[in-house]
Amino acid sequence: MRIAVLNFPGSNCELDTIYVLRRLLNLDAELVWHEAFDRSGYDAAILPGGFSYGDYLRAGTIAAHSPAMKHVRAMADEGKPVIGICNGFQMLTEAGLLPGALLRNEGLSFVCRWVSLRVESNRSALTWLLPKGAIIRLPIAHAEGRYVNERRAIRELWRNGQVILTYVDELGNPTPDANPNGSMDNIAGICNERGNVVGLMPHPERGAEGVLSPFGSEDGLMLFESLLYFMNGGDRICGAG
């Protein structure tokens, strides 16, 4: 199982992601310069967080047009996992691999903090092993994370189990106060119909070790473990399909 972590100019979570995959999960993860990316030989691709091309114009737009995205698109079509974290999620929506758009936060400024999230679906490669309704904790750090789409399209996402994570309060309710950026329906992450293309604003790689978490949680690790299972075509060990 080889995982490519793509490195675009301006990415800045690529080494953090590699750290988690290699050091905590012992995976064969490789940092790949975007110009050198060729999908052959990789079983999954991760588009890491950061500010590719400075987020100039809009977050993720310029990277979405780089040649590397052709390979990413092909992997998505082949059903291989393609994971976009934060800036990576923005690239996936800008490239049209995931529906909707991530616009500037409603509060207009960058927000860095830990949030509670509810697992709304375990259809995606990242939530494969997580029980529906589970509450997990991860940090967010973004200025353009407000998920927007046409109402009809959002209903469709819900119906298909494509909404995978929402921002919730301590009790698990998707309240306006729990929504850090004004996303419609408090949406924090979505996937495509097959569940192999996944985008989320929170950073699982920053929430994978107790020492980094104000709550001592390691929830981020479960997301990557899910990815591993998904890649292996593995069975779920918990939760219903």
Binding site: P9, G10, N12, G54, G107, S109, R113, V211
Partner: protein
């Protein structure tokens, strides 16, 4: 500078031409030459077993063992931020990051130390909003977390805000690179943004006071490009890894002139450059402009001839513009050619070593009066006073500010802003960590520069100790008015004496710093409070020692460490509750600091402590309240037990800002062991009471009691920054 010109002519044996004069003028500016401050700064202790590189280079470098080093440095960007807060603060971050980068350490953390006028003023809101946005947009984009800082509001900063930023880098001891040119024949490569007309004479601007015309000095405004900077960071580290980079320096104040002269002077060599090779943003630039430009995002590489292609290959991969502009020579001269003609020829030494000035110092006449103020009446409701104090902009939570910074990127930040007294960053390769915090109480410094500055050192060291670290080195950033005025120069020299006194007393070497003068309003002649921000670096040898400030569990016992005196001068309590800005501020004592720190350090290492917080603005009452708010737990304490001397009044006991104090909480039953530790270190400790499962602060004193609801306290502390500033 007629004497300086005479000196130059004497040395050269001729008149300098226009370009040479421009170069000399920049290098002799206060900003580049430290001509006023050098004679005073030399008293700072700079030696220590861990010090690898001390003051004089771009960043100080300390050995943290196992082959790792930490480089860190602080710098001011006050003047640019006062006229263009967004770009001024952003390029401040850009500059300090380059200072760390050019030692070949990876920048892993930023700190920001900010000072503004009263928060309700329109100018303050504007400055604060855009300074924070500038730091956020730039720091976040380059992928370096902003992990700690401080914000102070005081009338003296209304025109001249202070924006000080620090950067910390981690590297390997065997791969440090220095800003030196040592081998004639090496190539000189300029990499990064093209050179433009921006910022020409920026440093002379930074060495002037702000006037109405400042706003017109358009060319001084620089625009940062964080995307370019991020690529420069990666490309630089990759280029140095080839093994062919012999020297490295960033281009900051005085641009190419400064980099060439300082690098060749340090290495005892010379340079020959051809300016037509420099990649330019505007075609028609003159040699004068090219030598003096302060365009952002540029680095100067000294490359071994056999590795030139390898290094340039790295720059090409990252798509970074670059030009090979010349070579190192053995002449000791800066020889500048333009289209075949020599346009400037000066000894490196003449440029790099400006003659020093010995300024006059005089104690301000009105200071004695300011120290003597009548004591205010004690308010009847001290609980109310505490709630109000928590909402003071100087004490209120700065969460609305630091939440705009990505403090997590890099997955090193294990104590985050607001959670502990200092930020703690783990090393990724081994289970150890470093701690950093920036501090200064400028009101204390104004009333008593000596003790106030000593206090700044002590506070930042205490903060680092409170999270479980051993302080190992410090850097400082001096911000003062016009040094030509003897009163200001007195503040400066007293301040540096104070820093030295405490650094020496605590055995902490100063490995770098920065001096910013002329922070005053030319119209009113009002200078900023003398403010030297101290950043202390600490080392945490075991991750288990990492300690935060929230009370953890009810039943835990609360202790006060260190003695409280009736030291109310310059306190936030006097200022915010009584509108008094005078009085005698706390006296600094290295002995007491050493005892208190030793107690906390040992208690942490023995695993006795659950929470620790140092007492600073707002005194012991504010420390207790914040620890309770953070933990979501109440307390029940007897204030009568606080170790004290000569404190007659309850408000003084609650709000005195005496130094050398901590509040800690410990597992029940630790009292005996803690007392034994305290005794061994010759310090005071006393059990005040307990953490309780309630939602109130309950504080007794003789027959009196103070009760405050946690909700009310939390609302005052958490909510007020947003209220003062509107939406940030």
């Amino acid at each position: 500078m007629p004497e300086e010109l005479d000196y130059v002519i004497g040395q050269l044996g001729r008149e300098p031409n226009r370009i040479e004069l421009g170069m000399l003028e920049l290098m002799y500016s206060e900003h580049c030459s430290y001509k006023s401050s050098r004679p005073i700064l030399k008293i700072l202790p700079r030696e220590g077993p861990r010090v690898l590189v001390g003051p004089g280079y771009d960043a100080g470098i300390v050995d943290i063992g196992n082959g790792y080093v930490v480089a860190f440095k602080i710098e001011s960007h006050n003047h640019p931020s006062a006229i263009d807060p967004y770009n001024g603060a952003a390029t401040g971050i850009g500059g300090i990051v380059r200072d760390i980068l050019c030692t070949n350490c990876r920048p892993v953390a930023l700190l920001d130390s900010l000072r503004f006028g009263p928060p309700r003023k329109g100018r303050t809101k504007w400055l604060l909003k855009y300074v924070v946005k500038g730091i956020s947009d730039y720091g976040n984009r380059i992928g370096v977390p902003t992990v700690a800082g401080e914000v102070e509001f005081d009338e003296s900063f209304e025109t001249n805000c202070l924006v000080n930023v620090a950067c910390v880098g981690i590297g390997r001891r065997d791969s440090i690179v220095l800003a030196k040119m040592e081998s004639p024949g090496d190539y000189i490569v300029l990499m990064g943004s093209s050179t433009g007309r921006d910022g020409i004479h920026g440093v002379t601007f930074a060495s002037k006071t702000i006037t109405a015309e400042s706003e017109e000095e358009r060319p001084s405004v620089q625009i940062g490009d964080p995307f370019m900077k991020k690529m420069i960071i990666e490309a630089t580290l990759e280029a140095v890894a080839t093994g062919f980079v012999a020297g490295l320096k960033d281009l900051g104040g005085a641009g190419l002139t400064c980099a060439l002269s300082e690098m060749s002077f340090k290495g005892g060599t010379g340079v020959e450059v051809e300016l037509e090779r420099v990649h330019l943003r505007e075609e028609d630039m003159t040699p004068y402009e090219i030598m003096l430009s302060e365009s952002q995002e540029r680095m100067l590489f000294v490359v071994k001839p056999e590795g030139l292609e390898r290094v340039l290959g790295v720059f090409r991969k990252w798509g970074l513009p670059h030009s090979v502009i010349g070579r190192v020579t053995d002449t000791g001269e800066i020889l500048v050619k333009y289209r075949g003609e020599v346009v400037a020829r000066l000894p490196s030494k003449l440029l790099a070593e400006a003659p020093v000035l010995h300024r006059r110092a005089k104690r301000p006449r009105d200071l004695a009066k300011a120290l003597k103020v009548p004591k205010p009446r004690e308010p009847k409701d001290l609980g109310r006073a505490l709630v109000r104090l928590l909402s003071s902009p100087n004490i209120a939570s700065k969460e609305p500010i630091y939440s705009q910074y990505d403090y997590e990127v890099g997955i090193r930040t294990i104590v985050k802003p607001g959670d502990g007294d200092a930020a703690v960053l783990r090393l990724l390769e081994e289970p150890r960590a470093i701690a950093v915090k920036a501090d200064c109480n400028s009101r204390h410094c104004r009333l008593d520069p000596f003790n106030g500055h000593a206090g700044a050192v002590a506070e930042s060291a205490r903060n680092v100790v409170a999270v479980g670290a051993e302080p190992i080195a410090a850097v400082d950033c001096c911000n003062f008015g016009n040094p030509e005025r003897p009163e200001v120069f007195w503040q400066f020299s007293e301040g540096i004496r104070g820093l030295s006194y405490m650094l020496e007393g605590l055995g902490i070497p100063c490995v770098g710093g920065n001096v910013s003068f002329y922070n005053e309003d030319e119209r009113t002649g009002r200078a900023v409070n003398p403010t030297t921000v101290v950043v202390t670096l600490g080392l945490v040898e075991e991750l288990d020692w990492v300690t935060t400030m929230a009370f953890k569990e009810h039943g835990d016992e609360i202790f006060a460490v260190g003695r409280t005196y009736a030291e109310m001068g310059g306190s936030e309590y006097y200022h915010w509750i009584h509108g008094i800005s005078g009085g005698r501020p706390p006296r600094a004592s290295p002995g007491r600091e050493r005892s208190s720190m030793a107690i906390v350090k040992e208690a942490i290492r023995r695993g006795l402590i659950d929470a620790a917080h140092d007492c600073s603005k707002g005194g012991i009452a504010v420390a207790l309240a914040i620890m309770a708010i953070k933990g979501g737990l109440g307390i029940d304490v007897d204030l009568g037990r606080i170790p004290r001397s000569g404190v007659g009044r309850l408000d003084e006991l609650l709000f005195s800002e005496s130094y050398a104090r901590f509040v800690i909480s410990a597992r029940p039953g630790s009292a005996r062991e803690l007392r034994a530790i305290a005794e061994r270190h010759g310090g005071a400790i006393s059990r005040l009471g307990r953490v309780v499962d309630s939602s109130e602060l309950f504080m007794r004193y003789g027959g009196r009691a103070i009760r405050c609801g946690l909700g009310e306290l939390r609302e005052a502390w958490n909510g007020s920054m947003r209220r003062y500033l509107g939406e940030l």
